[in-house]
Amino acid sequence: MGIAIYVLTFALLLIGIYAVVAKKNVIKIIIGVLIIEYAVNMLLVLVGYRPAAQSGDAGTPPVIGPGISAEEVARASVDPLPQAMVLTSIVIGLGLTALMVAMGLRLYEKYGTFDMDQIRRLRG
């Protein structure tokens, strides 16, 4: 079961890389980059997961709050460090999206197309 989850995550990564390498539309390339980000973020959360004390429940968040004592967090909660890393990585992805969209719009303005092949041809 766990192996299938990991393997599917890497399959998602490959779909993203395929889109970046083989697609020629600017928007499609941006989508490919975002899919790669999803796969990486998901892998990070997956490696920190451990099941809740009661099997069948969702994992225990590393947050002390109503109904979750400090002992329970220390014993059974998921790993907080990968989550902090993913938060960083999500924000990096958002910043990159803004930059990529800016470049895509600018390319469209200059060439009137999103097609990288045509862009290359127009450039000569």
Partner: protein
């Protein structure tokens, strides 16, 4: 074990949505399919015990979708496949196959010893060859004082993000700042001045 099946199903959904996003010709559908994958990811985050990530992922997803839909000046992907693209696809498949083989080895599909810890049994849980890493300290010292290694925050993710590893977060805040200044720089109306022009 119900959670694992749910996660598997959601990842399957993400894969399908990603394939649709990559392959469909209509760019608006493509972006919406990507959004579906993103929201599935935030559901997975919730199941994996990461509510912070789920909140942020939903927010980021909304902004990403708005930005991408605004960026769609045309709706159609008009590119035509050429021989070179087929070659590239072949190269990706080949490299991907190799990587997947290493991945299968690494996740211990063939019962290898030096494999990744199995899903649901992170290093943190102990029991592997190495003792649990730093995260064990993060979780066990939450209610302690600073001298004993605690931060005084009830949310371990925030404690890691803004105290133990606050320096990373400085980098992260800088990333947002740098990419936004970069976006401003890219969409300036004029990049270079012409002769004798002052702006």
């Amino acid at each position: 074990m119900g959670v694992e099946y749910l996660i598997l199903a959601l990842i399957g959904f993400m894969l399908i949505a990603a394939l649709v996003a990559v392959e469909t010709r209509d760019l608006l559908s493509s972006v919406i399919a990507l959004g579906a994958a993103g929201f599935a990811l935030s559901a997975i985050d919730l199941l994996l015990g990461a509510p912070d990530l789920a909140i942020t992922q939903v927010g980021v997803e909304v902004i990403t979708l708005v930005l991408l839909i605004r960026a769609e000046v045309t709706r159609r992907d008009t590119s035509t496949p050429a021989l070179r693209d087929a070659l590239r696809t072949g190269a990706v498949l080949l490299a991907g196959g190799l990587v997947l083989a290493v991945v299968l080895l690494a996740v211990g599909a063939f019962g290898d010893k030096a494999a990744l810890p199995a899903f649901g049994e992170p290093v943190l849980a102990g029991g592997g060859a190495v003792p649990p890493g730093v995260s064990k300290d993060y979780l066990e010292k939450m209610t302690l004082t600073r001298a004993e290694g605690g931060t005084g925050a009830g949310n371990a993710v925030t404690a890691v993000l803004l105290d133990y590893r606050a320096y990373d977060t400085l980098g992260e805040a800088t990333v947002i700042f740098v990419s936004i200044i970069g976006a401003y720089a890219i969409i300036r109306r004029v990049g270079r001045k012409r002769e004798g022009e002052s702006l």
